[in-house]
């Protein structure tokens, strides 16, 4: 249909340079929002930049640590969207992975030691996949819209974790709604000594690179793109089992989000909390769109959003600007990308109609 070659992404993948330009414009909008809220723009931005990239420590301990779950969850969203699956359940899949990962480290951390971390991360990925398997099955078997079912699954996961940290997994004093601290042997080693940058960041980058190669050069990646672009064409061409391809993409997406949850527990928080994910699963949508759904570019967009969030935390500490300003920016990025895409599509449509 489109004259731009077979590798074209589905409709919501945006032109990346345009997105970068728009982001620059959005920084201006942030300045206006900050100024309109009665804060001084210059010190606020200085704090933002300092907190995000002001020192090697800020880059590694704040920005890249924050970027880790965003890269993995962003990857999860990008793969699902490429396959035409509107998985907005990354949040629930993260929680499922975090809860199962915590359970494994608490059960076997003392006996298995370091081996338990690997097991925990594998189980976390499996947990995320299992959490995604339910909406995948509901879609395949009953035609339930995954948009609605993944929202349900997010809430079930949220309340499930709320139950676990007040019930079976609660810390021994039974005062705080959180799990005990996981054994030291099951905490992820640091990538750079003296910082808080754990090996989970390396795992996230590696996962993105593997996904990039797989989608680029493997038959499975091609099937994914074809299914996402046009399920009916993929089916009528006879070469693709569309429901199976969709289910597989859904499971991979869930596994990546679950892995993000497992890494967050073993690398950052060392315990399970109710609010262990401050909306990573939703922010991941901005990460994936900013990357134009490209698995490799997700690394960059994840680091960008990670820097923004790390910087915003410093901005709140030092200049009193509320942290949530960053959410406004993320929303504007998403709107700018989908708006630009839609406007371009609209113009193309009008041109085609005028030509016939």
């Amino acid at each position: 249909m489109s004259p731009r070659g077979p590798a074209r992404l589905p409709a919501f993948a945006g032109p990346v340079p345009l997105a970068i330009l728009l982001t620059a414009g959005i920084v201006g909008v942030v300045a206006v929002v900050i100024a309109a809220s009665g804060f001084d723009v210059a010190p606020a931005f200085a704090a933002l930049v300092r907190g995000a990239v002001g020192s090697p420590y800020a880059i590694m301990s704040a920005t890249l640590v924050r970027a880790t779950p965003l890269i993995l969850a962003g990857l999860a969203v990008a793969i699902a969207f490429q396959g035409g699956i509107l998985n907005i359940g990354a949040e629930g899949q993260i929680l499922a992975g975090a809860a199962l990962g915590t359970t494994v480290t608490l059960l076997w951390g003392r006996t298995l030691g370091g081996g338990a971390v690997i097991l925990a991360l594998l189980v976390a990925a499996a947990g995320g996949a299992a959490w995604a398997a339910i909406p995948a099955w509901l879609r395949r078997r009953f035609g339930v819209l995954e948009v609605i079912s993944t929202i349900m699954m997010n809430f079930i996961a949220l309340y499930g974790v709320g139950y676990l940290v007040r019930g079976p997994l609660q810390e021994p004093t039974r005062i705080y709604p959180q799990s005990p601290t996981i054994p030291a042997a099951t905490q992820l080693p640091m990538l750079v000594p003296g910082t808080r940058l754990h090996v989970g960041f390396g795992i996230a980058v590696l996962a993105a690179l593997i996904a990039w190669v797989a989608i680029r050069s493997h038959a499975a990646g091609f099937r994914l793109r074809v299914v996402g672009a046009s399920p009916s064409a993929a089916a009528s061409a006879g070469q693709v089992d569309v429901p199976a391809a969709i289910t597989r993409a859904f499971l991979v997406s869930g596994a990546l989000a679950g892995l993000a949850g497992g890494i967050e527990v073993t690398g950052v928080t060392y315990a399970l909390y109710e609010n262990i994910s401050p909306g990573y699963g939703y922010t991941a949508i901005a990460v994936a769109l900013l990357a134009g759904l490209h698995p490799g570019l997700v690394i960059i967009s994840g680091i960008c959003i990670g820097a923004l969030e790390a910087g915003a935390a410093a901005m709140q500490r030092e200049a009193g600007v509320p942290l949530v300003v960053v959410n406004v920016v993320e929303a504007l990025i998403i709107l700018a990308i989908v708006g630009a895409r839609a406007a371009i599509a609209r113009r193309e449509r009008t041109t085609v109609e005028a030509g016939t």
Binding site: F142, I151, M153, I156, P322, N327, I334
Partner: protein, 306 residues
């Protein structure tokens, strides 16, 4: 047990009121083929609008301002989704993220950065004579804030609109088969736009009732997932006004259980009860007979093919 039953039922209806208002609106929008995942953002906008509007001391002005704020948020969504035909889910997610952030920022800008709780006037319960004296159910249904009675009215109005008016038939036609509707001379874009805005007004009212009939102040993220709950309610209520109202009561009862457990000192984990309605919704969706199915064109972007 009866000592607890009446307060429990009252709490159920009270908690269900904003949920039902929002889901009633969302069902209109979804019936026109537009799913607004940004409903959470619409509700929180209604909350802030209500706080600003009620500064005059008038609860009614607060409700009106809440509805207007909800419509303003819905207008942004409509521009992207209905007019530009951008993806509904992604746009809705952005609306939610952005509105949660913007309302918190604006609140601090308008009412100071200290975050001191600002109290608004609230509407107390208004007992309806005779009806409220019915044992057990009377106080639960008829000793509620006036906005709950407005909700009862709206359930009827929306039902009448959807099933007994020409415009309602047109709206449902657009949600089922936009091409056929357009061929029959219905302006699908305008219908969907109007549906989204009406849903925005009801979502804004839901937020306003949260502030003015329950909490009495604004706090960051006070909508607390009610927009997403409302989307579940619409599905559980099978996209029909009465079903939606009953489903809202069920979700209300699930949250009211935690008050009941706290007041009776029950040690049962209430999180499991909170999760229950969502599990039930999934089961109902999976058992989708013809009556339980979502509008056929729900979430579709392409429209102007005719």
């Amino acid at each position: 047990m009866t000592d607890y039953l009446t307060p429990f039922l009252e709490a159920t209806v009270r908690t269900a009121t904003p949920l039902a208002l929002a889901s009633l609106g969302e069902s209109i929008s979804e019936r026109a083929g537009v799913i607004n995942v940004g409903l959470e953002g619409v509700i929180i906008s209604g909350c802030l609008g209500a706080v600003v509007g009620a500064r005059s001391g008038s609860v009614l002005a607060g409700m009106a301002a809440g509805a207007v704020a909800g419509m303003a948020a819905a207008l942004i969504f409509a521009v992207f989704v209905v007019w530009l035909r951008a993806d509904q889910i992604i746009t809705g997610t952005a609306l939610t993220i952005g509105a949660l952030g913007l309302t918190a920022t604006l609140y601090r800008a308008l009412f100071g950065t200290s975050g001191v709780a600002l109290s608004t006037p609230t509407m107390g319960p208004l007992a309806i004579p005779v009806l409220s004296t019915i044992p057990v159910l009377g106080p639960a249904l008829f000793r509620q804030p006036p906005v709950t009675y407005f909700l009862y009215l709206m359930v009827g109005v929306v039902w009448w609109f959807l099933y007994r008016t020409h415009a309602g038939l047109a709206l449902r036609a657009v949600g089922e088969n936009p091409e056929a509707a357009q061929a029959a001379g219905i302006d699908a874009v305008r219908t969907q736009g109007a549906a989204v805005l009406a849903a925005g007004a009801l979502g804004g009212l839901a937020g306003a009732s949260l502030v003015l009939a329950q909490v009495g102040t604004f706090t960051e993220r006070m909508s607390a997932g009610r927009g997403f709950i409302a989307i579940a309610i619409v599905a559980l209520g099978r996209w029909r006004p009465l079903g939606v109202a009953l489903a809202a009561l069920l979700f209300g009862a699930a949250s009211a259980l935690q008050f009941l457990f706290q007041s009776t000192g029950t040690q049962l984990p209430y999180q499991l009860f909170l999760a229950l309605p969502y599990v039930l919704t999934l089961i109902v969706l999976a058992g989708g007979t013809a009556h339980a199915r979502a509008p056929a064109a729900l979430g579709r972007r392409d429209l102007e093919s005719s």
